[in-house]
Symmetry: C2
Subunit: 212 residues, 2 copies
DNA sequence: TGTACATCAGTGAACGCGCGTTCACTGATGTAC
DNA sequence: TGTACATCAGTGAACGCGCGTTCACTGATGTAC
């Protein structure tokens, strides 16, 4: 073979990854195929050797972005602590000013809602996999019970960061992010009925258990 | 005058209104100037007699859409009842399936976040006027105290409807909307410290007061 | 060992089309004299 | 009262450009004999 055996597969992955950044930065309609290919160090003509259409790439990018987000959630510390640190990043000014490196839902959700069936199906399964991951971490006994609560919190933080990005007043943007962190934490407190460590009153008891 | 004296102004208003529907339906990047003008019963050439550029129209549409939303909030019954009925519409399957007639933030917020300064400034003042309207209705004594809480609830419902629109499973979409209604109601309950009618325990007492 | 051919990821020009924007023109009505 | 001209919202063709997509071709390496 004139190329190493997974060369084409590597190119495809590279296109999907760099397209993720570009789409989150400039939007779906705002990103042309030629630009997406140039981002991956290739020329426009090669695009159709990798994807049937721009729509198919978009669906692949959506699936990939949600997979990365799920994996990043899976690698956090266990329990509420991990989720809280994720929320702190999610609702930060840093995330607000770096959509290209951030959450795909925050950057693209209204465009996804207008997207093709393939894109919306990819989004739906990606979000379910992600929320099940989070639900299992928060409530290992009965993840199904908290799945919708997790989706509700997800909706809240998506709206918060989109709103913060649209407001030109940075103080107001920060106020919305801070308020939303409190709201998210409170809704999670309620959704997880018997928390593994009930963050406010029992940390001493838990630590004693660990020390024994 | 060969046209009645506010003919041009009427055309401008018509363009802004029909463009509101089109932009919410197809997105900002997804709506061309020729289409926007045809929607208003005009041809593309006349566009630049009304607006300096497409960007200027978008900013005008954003301002107009938020004004309409604020006025619709202002015309609701007083107190929490009015807000709750707004939330019930906002988080309905009907709103989910009719973006063109719905909330501009739900349809366009991530595109607005990527928009021009003019657009984001128009959005910022529109949202502030709207949230101050709601805050004044919920807490006539001290609206400033609940403004950010109102923005937090606004963020929550925007994210919820965008998420519901992106999910292809209608049952899941409805579950997200219902959960978000509960979340919004609960956060508002907490934000308004001494409610004019504390919806769960004191309606009888309030009604007796009215009957006296 | 050397030559002819096959493979195939990627190139780059071209397709028709719609984009945002410009501009010479139209035509209905007003004003001047 | 009638004619010449001014006004101006709107028309529709055209501008250069980038869009998504197609396709003949390149060139590096593999295989056949």
């Amino acid at each position: 073979m004139r190329y190493e055996k997974d060369h084409k597969h590597a190119s495809r992955m590279r296109i999907i990854e760099s397209a993720g950044r570009r789409l989150k930065r400039d939007g779906i309609d705002g990103s042309g195929v030629a630009t997406l290919m140039a981002d991956a160090g290739l020329t426009n003509g090669a695009f159709y050797a990798h994807f049937e259409s721009k729509d198919h790439l978009v669906a692949a990018v959506v699936a990939d972005q949600l997979r990365v987000q799920r994996e990043s959630l899976a690698s956090l510390p266990a329990g509420r602590e991990g989720i809280d640190s994720f929320l702190r990043w999610y609702l930060s000014l840093e995330h607000r000013s770096n959509p290209a490196e951030g959450c795909p839902s925050a950057a693209l959700l209204d465009e996804i809602a207008r997207g093709s069936d393939a894109t919306r199906n990819a989004y739906t399964s990606g979000v379910l996999a992600m929320s099940d991951e989070v639900a299992a971490r928060l409530s290992p006994g009965d993840p199904a019970a908290v799945r919708v609560a997790v989706l509700g919190v997800f909706a809240l933080v998506i709206g918060a960061i989109q709103l913060a990005r649209s407001l030109t007043d940075p103080n107001l943007a920060r106020a919305v992010l801070d308020q939303s962190f409190k709201n998210a934490a409170e809704l999670l407190d309620e959704a997880v009925p018997s928390p593994p460590a009930s963050r406010k009153r029992k940390p001493v008891a838990r630590r004693r258990t660990e020390a024994e």
